[in-house]
């Protein structure tokens, strides 16, 4: 098993599948009256969050607690070199406290990589800047597999602000490893340069959402921040919604079996309409539930729970 989970690229197909299979076992725990396993008893998991992210933090916290780990929440919001303790000093502090795993969310791309050089324990990247968010990709893959029964051969459209999306990067890497075919959709200003060469050669780019819908098994809508408008990535929120938002008529152009995903938090009315978000095709609430199972599997496997 790998020691850290920093990038979707850290996972080969066998390892990723093992995590998804383990997550499926973990999911059965959630259905029990006592939602707790003793697997990580006596181990310490630190949630080191430099950004506000209630949903990701509580998902990891719930995952660690269900495995009976001791959880320390370290919120360092707004911290930076200029404002306070350096990441390295924080790392050494956590090290001294005996953290077995550090789950880190940070506004700077690569922060999890840096942290992994400074601590002995496992580092789980819970989102670093505009780089990656590998457990989100794992829970997305888990959700697709549970809904559609497979990953290999699926056509997945990832729609929106790919440029600034750590979710998109991790998904492209992981889905391509698992044999799905990803099409990135968005205005050209929000698609990063050389994306296929950078991440996965079989990735395609399309600027026309309507063109990809009829052949998509999965549509994953990304959150688009309204502030991007003032940076001239697109002219207005309304124009964005017209061209790249998923509404009812567009949803009905999808194949019968296709699902709609969103990593949350949603901008209802911007990239997704309430009709779509609340439709039976939407997996948004399942994704949250699956997140806990997948993060349990990741912590369990990284911390060698399988050898216990």
């Amino acid at each position: 098993m790998i020691r850290h989970l920093l990038s979707g690229a850290d996972l080969d197909a066998a390892t990723a599948t093992r995590i998804l299979d383990t997550a499926a076992e973990m999911a059965t725990v959630a259905g029990r009256e006592v939602k707790k396993l003793p697997a990580l008893r006596g181990r310490t998991v630190v949630n080191l969050f430099y950004e506000d992210s209630t949903r990701t933090r509580i998902s990891f916290e719930a995952a660690a607690k269900r495995l009976s780990a001791d959880v320390i929440n370290f919120s360092a919001k707004g911290s930076s070199v200029a404002k306070g303790e350096s990441l390295k000093d924080t790392a050494l502090t956590l090290q001294a406290m005996g953290a077995d795993a550090v789950v880190v969310r940070h506004p700077a791309s690569g922060a999890a990589h840096r942290l992994a050089e400074w601590v002995d324990g496992s580092v789980v990247n819970a989102g670093d800047g505009t780089h990656e968010h590998p457990t989100q990709a794992l829970l997305d893959a888990y959700t697709m597999r549970s809904r559609l029964g497979r990953l290999a051969g699926l056509s997945v459209a990832v729609v929106g602000d790919v440029l600034h999306s750590r979710v998109a990067r991790s998904n492209v890497l992981l889905l391509s490893t698992l044999g799905a075919k990803v099409t990135l959709v968005g205005p050209p200003t929000l698609i990063p340069v050389d994306i296929a060469a950078a991440l996965a050669p079989d990735t395609t780019v399309c600027y026309d959402l309507d063109a990809v819908l009829p052949t998509s098994d999965v549509v994953m809508m990304l959150r688009v921040q309204r502030e991007r408008m003032s940076d001239s990535y697109f002219p207005s929120a309304r124009e964005y919604a017209r061209r790249y938002g998923l509404d009812g008529p567009r949803m009905r152009r999808l194949p019968e079996h296709a699902i709609v995903m969103h990593p949350g938090p949603m901008n209802r009315g911007m990239e997704i309409t309430p009709e779509v978000a609340d439709s039976p095709r939407s997996t948004i609430v399942e994704q949250v539930a699956n997140g806990v199972s997948v993060r349990m599997a990741v912590l369990y496997l990284l911390l060698g729970g399988n050898n216990a």
């Binding site: 922060a111 505009t130 990656e132």
Partner: protein, 425 residues
Amino acid sequence: MSAYLIKGVSPLGAAPTDLLIRDGVVAEAGSGLSAAGATVVDADGLVALPGLVDLHTHLREPGREDAETVESGSRAAALGGYTAVCAMANTSPVADTAGVVEQVWRLGREAGLVDVQPVGAVTVGLAGERLAELGAMADSAARVRIFSDDGHCVADPRLMRRALEYVKAFDGIIAQHAEEPRLTEGAQMHEGEVSTRLGLTGWPAVAEEAIIARDVLLAEHVGSRLHVCHVSTAGSVEVLRHAKARGVRVTAEVTPHHLLLTDVRAETYDPVYKVNPPLRTDDDVAALRAALADGVIDVIATDHAPHAVEDKECEWAYARPGMLGLETALSIALEVLGPRWDLIAERMSRTPARIAGLESHGVDPAPGAPANLTLVDPAARRVVEPGELASLSRNTPYAGMTLPGRVVATFLRGEATVLDGKAVR
């Protein structure tokens, strides 16, 4: 004054000879020289070059004496084979007045290891809003001729035009940090495949090329001298080639790191590889090497940029850009160009001395020449150990790399600043 008899040295790779250095000049050259009282330097197998001249050095004093001082930077320069360095203006306070440039100049004289030629800021506080007192700096004891807002681009085209025109009165030159600021907001590394993979905001090549294109046209329009700092892209080379063909008075420099390293180094997220302009691609490196050989790029300049540990041992986005360069530049020139000594002398000594107006530098070691020279062992190979560098900072991107060549001795106006590979003080 001391006298040195350098025995069996090969001037720029030519047949071995002896050089007698006395009274600050090369007094004699020839085989079998002897001189009573002269210190004998066994230079068998060594190559003599005119002392190197760096057009682009950050010495950090005043303001960041924890990262480098004029003295420590001078020592690093001498150990790198340099006899003159041009100290960039982005100190704190900024070198935008006669007082600050004279302070830096005086500190250089006191250190006495290289000639420290201050560069003056183009605009007050490097803010890009109004001209600094360029004439006062030119007339000061520091005799400033190169003006640069390096670290910042003189982005306002009208201000750039005025600066180019104004310095004609004292044969000054504007050294431009070519970076269109609106195209590089938040930029962290070269925009391309690697920045996409790493999720780091891209610094597109066009942000450099657009400013160079504008500035060569401005320089042509007003008939002024323009120098382009740290050219980093293949496209910039083509713009410069075109401008030179038209007769524009433009010169350009390239750094050692842009000749050797590429953006894939960023994959470690180790900010020791963060630099501005950023490391580019293999294609850019190839174009820069070719341009250096054919003369479209005139000089190698280090952009020696020391940074304290805490400014590099952090997240990539929070780290300051810049790399050490003085103590490794000649080795990288050898690695990239091979033992083409005349070309190395041209790109690292004669041409930079001419651009900076340093008449006693950049002169080949021959009878009558000022005794500003360096002796290099071309056969030596060394592993770069950050802890062994004379710079106060440790941010070398070459740590652990084995590089060719070693500076054995350096002489400034006839006095040794480096002997046996060690600084004399």
